[in-house]
């Protein structure tokens, strides 16, 4: 019974995930695309829940589903309705190259996972302790096994913040010059 419920929830979440991902790239109105992306992040959070990662699921909802997407919606609504501009006309050619490369990478990943499943590499169930996925366990991993990745991420974020400040002050300077 419990297994069946898990299977049903997984099926619904996975379907919602794929459908919303398709919707993100299908809507012509970017506001609807952003809303679909929120749906996509929420269904990913459900998948994390099924993997006993409660903390990651809540973090996903709080940080990506909440704060980050609010900024997306803010910018999109602020810029106004631009549905008239087609995303396909006049884009630089490297966009197409990038899209094909990304698509190829995902296809390769899908092939590898399907192959591993068929080869029986993924059928061995891992033993999961009670502490798995708890904030304590994740925090310990951040400060031991994945310390370098964690610190590098914080530096990347710092660079982004400094870049934002520089761009902002540059724009303000141009505005000030134009005014005088």
């Amino acid at each position: 019974m419990a297994d069946f419920l898990v299977w049903v929830v997984w099926f619904v979440a996975a379907f919602a995930c794929l459908a919303s991902a398709l919707a993100v790239v299908s809507f012509s109105n970017p506001f609807y695309s952003a809303l679909s992306l929120i749906g996509n992040l929420a269904s990913l959070a459900v998948l994390f829940l099924l993997l006993s990662g409660e903390f990651v699921a809540a973090g996903q909802l709080l940080v990506y589903g909440g704060a980050v997407m609010v900024m997306f919606l803010f910018v999109i609504a602020y810029l106004g309705d631009r549905t008239g501009e087609s995303p396909w006309s006049g884009g630089p050619s490297w966009q197409i190259v990038g899209a094909v490369l990304a698509g190829g990478a995902i296809l390769a990943e899908v092939c590898v996972v399907v192959g591993m499943q068929a080869g029986g590499f993924l059928t061995k169930p891992q033993h999961i302790t009670r502490a798995f996925g708890s904030p304590e366990a994740i925090g310990r991993l951040f400060l031991t096994d994945h310390l370098i990745a964690f610190e590098v991420t914080s530096i990347v974020l710092l660079v982004a913040a400094v870049g934002g400040v520089v761009l902002g002050s540059h724009a303000r300077k141009i505005e000030g010059d134009a005014r005088t």
Binding site: G66, F74, A77
Partner: protein, 333 residues
């Protein structure tokens, strides 16, 4: 002893209905208190002391025509208030309101659900609930509504950071993200509003901004934006938005009681703990009265003042508080 799973269902029903009654009571309390603070009576006709005014309001709103602007983006326009209401009610489910009881051999826990990360869950639900306000304003295709939505975005994102950081001190001292564990820790040591007084101040200020209550009601500043994001809503759809806002305020007060004022415990006398819900509600409504007092006595901030206060005062204070708490906790332990 574990709680049988089916008890959650009647408990959730009771809690939702009690919260709705509290919402109605809060609107009455707000009008009554505002009236007294402004030297007038407030509602006093319908029922004793005007207590039936919320019921009359409800009947009026339900019977009113719920018209929508012809340009409104239909599915979103209708779903938006529902999303806000849903997350507002859902967030209340993790607040512990009692120590738990044993009735006819069945264990009943003092919260609808008790999850290990209940604090984060409340914040996550709050950040999803914001979408109701943003999408509602955007979908009504009106300049005032869109401006209200934009302000909601900017204000709530700015103050959410401070709000989350102000709670960090309590989490460090309680050593848990579980609200029940934080309450137990306060019972064992002392109420956290004493060591975390700075955190409490930041939490209350951030909370007023997060629930868009005056003096931080920029998203619906009626002198500038008519009514902000719910300008184009009428009837019960507007009522649902209003209800979501009030329930958010109740949840935030409940969270503040849980984090800083020892939740449902009665001070010193442990034998009174089995009446937990009564003390919880008393503490909660004391804070709600404080919210109303703020509304009655403070003028609304200007938009740039709001942003400056959020980023240049509240955020540094909250960060310093979290850092100093972390240092002290490490030094003591």
């Amino acid at each position: 002893m574990h709680e049988p799973w089916w008890i959650t269902i009647p408990k959730a029903l009771i809690v939702i209905n009690v919260v709705m009654v509290f919402f109605a009571l809060t609107t009455w309390l707000e009008r009554k208190l505002l009236g007294r603070m402004q030297n007038r009576y407030g509602p006093n006709r319908a029922g004793p002391k005007g207590l039936l005014v919320p019921i009359a309001d409800l009947l009026k709103l339900i019977r009113k025509e719920a018209f929508a602007p012809i340009a409104a983006k239909q599915p979103l326009y209708i779903i938006a208030p529902v999303v806000s209401m849903f997350t507002a009610l859902l967030a209340f489910s993790v607040l512990p309101f009692g120590a738990g009881w044993t009735v006819w051999g069945h264990r009943i826990n003092g919260a609808v659900v008790n999850v290990p990360i209940s604090l984060i869950l409340i914040f996550a639900l709050g950040s999803v609930g914001i979408y109701g306000f943003i999408v509602g304003g955007w979908a009504s295709e009106s300049k005032y509504s869109i401006l209200g939505s934009m302000r909601t975005c900017a204000q709530l994102v700015s103050y959410e950071v401070s709000l989350a950081l102000s709670v960090l001190g309590v989490v460090l001292m309680g050593q848990s993200l579980n609200l029940q564990a934080i309450v137990d820790k306060q019972q064992a040591t002392l109420w956290f509003f004493i060591p975390q007084f700075v955190g409490l101040c930041v939490f209350m200020l951030g909370g007023v901004a997060e629930t868009s209550r005056p003096p931080f009601d920029l998203p619906e500043a009626d002198t500038e934006l008519v009514a902000g994001y719910h300008t184009e809503y009428s009837g019960m759809r507007w009522g649902i938005f209003q209800a979501a806002e009030y329930i958010n305020m109740l949840t935030l007060s409940g969270l503040c009681v849980t984090l800083f004022f020892d939740g449902y415990h009665f001070p010193w006398v442990h034998s009174l703990d089995k009446f937990g819900p009564i003390w919880f509600v008393l503490k909660l409504f004391t804070l709600v009265a404080l919210f109303i007092w703020l509304r009655a006595s403070q003028p609304r901030l200007r938009y740039d003042q709001l942003m400056r206060f959020g980023w240049k005062v509240l955020l540094p204070v909250a960060t310093a508080n979290a850092l100093i708490t972390a240092l002290l906790v490490v030094a003591v332990s």
